[in-house]
């Protein structure tokens, strides 16, 4: 799976890989992702069916075809919606 670049801790000098967390707002709640990821990877990470959700990042639709290419950035507001019963 494609991941973001590795970050190295150059303060300690140990050059150990540092966990790169990403803070986003997911459906209105602050959320921390363990790694940089794309919209498609977020859907997979949350164990959601890709065909049953639609995604908005910062108020803009991320079309189905662009989910894999759309990398999430620090502070992104992500809305994940689905269909429910309604009139």
């Amino acid at each position: 799976m494609a991941r973001g670049p590795l970050f190295w801790d150059d303060v300690s000098g140990h050059r150990a890989p540092l966990q790169h967390t990403l803070k986003i707002v997911l459906n209105g709640s602050p959320s921390e992702l363990a790694d940089a990821m794309s919209v498609a990877e977020l859907i997979e990470d949350l164990d959601l069916s890709p065909e049953q959700v639609a995604v908005e990042v910062n108020g803009e639709l991320v079309p189905r075809a662009e989910r894999a290419a759309h990398q999430l950035a620090e502070g992104d507001a992500v809305e994940l919606v689905t269909l429910v019963g309604g009139g």
């Binding site: 049953q52 959700v53 639709l61 919606v81 689905t82 269909l83 429910v84 019963g85 009139g87």
Partner: protein, 285 residues
């Protein structure tokens, strides 16, 4: 004749048949549009939809519940080959959220059909007229087929049709109120003034007679949800609504007799046997 205005063909010569209802790219046999909210279970939803005979079902767009353990989805109970799915913007109180919700639903379903609701307040759920007009204009511009929930104000309905609405859907009475069509004369005037798109009564019906009365006025469709879902027996009510839609629509197409104050005998008035004349007539003849 209005009944033919939104159909591909003339009203059928076969009296058991009706022309289909055309909504954008979709052709519907049933003129009843049924919501999927408030049912006790997805199984009950599916059974009620089937019994209602509907071809078009409404759904709402909501945030994925990330806390809930993953259960089945409504989509697994609705056969997309059988029903046209009509996503709504229920719960939107401003133009921006209604447009965003529509954009999300189009991506989710791959359909450009949307039921637009821009509401004014949470108590009445009455549509906000200015927001509804603005959102209709924007969605039409973005290529949506917009079915617009609105009030039964005839001029409002004219304006929505002029903006290019796919259907104009005046409320019979407030959503979920079960009060029926409170102002049939407004609906009549709307039907007179709007000829560019179908008129569908959306919201407020409670009983089969409400659905029947709406169709008798000449509307092209009725959209309902609570009337079935919250009935004591939703499945039986679904059947009642199916039959009411058919009865009301057929009554409209058939053309009912005008109301009159006095009786008009169905049996011949000539050829009566002797001694049956009214006393007042006996001496005269």
């Amino acid at each position: 004749m209005r009944s033919a205005a939104h159909s591909e063909t003339d009203p059928m010569t076969d009296p058991t048949q009706d022309a289909p209802l055309i909504l954008g790219e979709h052709t519907l046999s049933s003129r009843l549009l049924v919501g999927t909210g408030k049912y006790a279970s997805f199984e009950e939803t599916a059974a009620a939809l089937e019994l209602s005979g509907t071809d078009c079902v409404t759904v709402a767009v909501r945030r994925v519940n990330l806390d809930e353990s993953k259960g089945p989805s409504l989509l697994e109970y609705i056969d997309r080959d059988r029903y046209v799915i009509l996503p709504n913007t229920a719960g939107c109180f401003d133009v921006e959220s209604a447009v965003r919700t529509s954009v999300l639903s189009r991506d989710l379903l791959g359909t450009k059909l949307v039921k637009l609701e821009v509401l004014g307040d949470k108590t009445t759920l009455l549509p906000d007229p200015v927001g509804t007009l603005e959102a209709t204009e924007e969605l039409v511009k973005q290529g949506f087929d917009v079915m617009v929930y609105c009030s039964d104000d005839p001029r409002m309905c004219v304006r929505l049709a002029e903006l290019g609405a796919t259907a104009v859907m005046p409320a019979g009475s407030p959503i979920g109120s079960g009060q029926g069509v409170l102002n049939p004369n407004a609906i009549r005037i709307i039907l007179e003034l709007v000829d560019a798109c179908p008129i569908i009564v959306d919201a407020g019906v409670g009983k089969a007679s409400d659905v029947c009365a709406a169709f008798e006025l000449g509307v092209e469709g009725v959209l309902l949800n609570s009337a079935i879902a919250l009935a004591q027996d939703p499945l039986r009510m679904a059947v009642a609504m199916r039959d009411a839609a058919s009865a009301g629509r057929q009554t409209f197409l058939a053309g009912p007799i005008p109301k009159r104050l006095y009786a008009n005998a169905s049996s011949p008035t000539e050829g009566m046997i002797a001694g049956t004349s009214l006393p007042s007539e006996a001496g005269a003849s």
